[in-house]
């Protein structure tokens, strides 16, 4: 199901978005940080705490728990679709880049896709920081004009009778896709369901699948 794009060798994948990283960036940033520390403007321990938070605590596992809860608890799903900020807050996920949340639900004849054509807006409390492809020109430029072509590049071919809604995050409202619960998953626990939910499914470039059904991105 994967296109060639997905199977690029590691070196080539790193080229994009890092085309011309000057060798002195590490040194420049080090020098800037020590200047700011020396001026008393920055606490280096605060930097460490910020990095640790987004590397280890805030990421797509949060969003996956929201999705799994919505799948097993219809009342929660109802709250999620009417006041997403509050419903996501119930699970403890709040704050920067998630102050105004909207959750959009996929269905058999409806597929939602999230993009930020102008920069890189993304729901941090539930998905963490965005991947490079989400912030890069190819996705930003084409998601709105050719969503079906973009989804094909991700290995997702949608029938013509499925409606596609693309959400361009032009303001401070942030969007999370509630994917369809995979078929034959009735026996799975909430925790097992959460383990199946991928970042890509919550952006809308993939579906959630059971591992035996061919895996997910």
């Amino acid at each position: 199901m994967k296109t060639d794009t997905h199977d690029l060798p590691q070196e080539k994948q790193h080229v994009h978005g890092h085309q011309t990283v000057p060798s002195d960036l590490t040194l420049r940033v080090k020098a800037l940080e020590s200047l700011l520390v020396e001026k008393g403007l920055v606490d280096p321990a605060a930097l460490d705490a910020l990095i640790d938070t987004y590397e280890h605590k805030i990421g797509p596992r949060n969003g996956a728990r929201v999705v799994a809860r919505a799948w097993v608890d219809p009342a929660y799903k109802e709250r999620l679709l009417t006041d997403a900020t509050a419903a996501i807050g119930e699970l403890g996920y709040t704050g920067g880049q998630g102050e105004h949340m909207i959750v959009v639900a996929n269905g058999p004849k409806l597929h939602n896709l999230v993009v930020c054509t102008l920069c890189s807006c993304y729901p941090w409390p539930v998905l963490g920081l965005p991947p490079v492809w989400y912030k890069s020109a190819p996705y930003r430029s084409r998601a709105v004009i050719d969503p079906r072509g973009v989804l094909r590049e991700f290995g997702l071919v949608l029938p013509e009778d499925v409606e596609i809604r693309v959400w361009d995050s032009t303001a401070e409202v942030r969007y999370l896709v509630l994917p369809e619960r995979p078929p034959d998953s009735e026996k799975l626990s909430e925790e097992e369901l959460a383990a199946l939910v991928t970042r890509d499914a919550m952006v809308g470039v993939a579906k959630v699948k059971l591992p035996q059904a061919g895996g997910n991105l």
Binding site: A31, K39, T117, L118, V166, D168
Partner: protein, 219 residues
């Protein structure tokens, strides 16, 4: 501004380059730039709209050439200089100017979890007239501001329908230039794909954008 950052609908940007099991940061310097931005933002010398506008002002060829966190580094330095937190000479020398006072950090480590959990809502609890109602047909104005705007070129002049009223939000165009928050209604507006892209698009599909009151006119 009609900058290269306003990419919706452009061709020629190449295939999407997907990386499996992508790390949050690819290099340690990216993580430091990310964190420096957040920590220096706590000095409240700029806002998110000014931050975005500063990146948009990077000349187009450079904007496309450099990486995401290089743009952040650029914006951080520009805004710190503009905000009087550092001088360009200090950035170039990597040393504080002789005799400059030593500050106390605006953000300390113990305050990080609280700051992140709180966030910075863009909604404002003030009265503003909603010129449009849910279900109403609207047209995105055909405007071309030379400063910051969040009305992408691809919807200007196009017809849409109001889906939701998000309430009153800070207006980026003025906020980016520190000319005031000018809070006003923000709507989710549905634009049919065919209205935007013509017959080549599916008649079922649509693009939804968040659009401020000032960007809209009656259809």
């Amino acid at each position: 501004m009609n900058g290269v950052h306003d990419m919706g609908g452009m061709h020629g940007m190449g295939p999407i380059q997907y990386e499996r099991n992508e790390a949050v940061f690819h290099e340690p310097w990216e993580a430091r730039v990310f964190a420096l931005n957040r920590a220096m933002g706590a000095w409240r010398k700029w806002n998110i709209d000014a931050f975005r506008h500063t990146a948009e002002l990077i000349p187009a060829p450079e904007y496309l050439r450099i990486s995401y966190y290089e743009r952040w580094l650029h914006s951080l330095i520009e805004l710190m200089v503009k905000g009087g937190l550092v001088t360009r000479a200090e950035v170039e020398n990597g040393k504080p100017a002789p005799g400059s006072p030593k500050a106390t950090p605006a953000l300390i480590a113990s305050a990080v979890p609280g700051m992140l959990a709180k966030g910075k809502p863009a909604s404002r609890d003030v009265q503003a007239e909603a010129r449009f109602k849910v279900g109403q047909a609207v047209r995105a104005r055909n405007i071309h501001p030379t400063g910051h705007t969040r009305l992408p070129r691809y919807v200007r002049g196009k017809l849409g329908t109001i889906l939701l009223d998000h309430g009153v939000h800070v207006f980026p165009d003025t906020n980016a230039d520190f000319l005031g928050e000018n809070p006003q209604h923000l709507y989710s507006v549905r634009f049919a794909a065919r209205e935007l892209w013509g017959e080549q698009a599916s008649s079922r599909d649509a693009v939804y954008l968040d659009v401020w009151d000032d960007y809209l006119e009656r259809a």
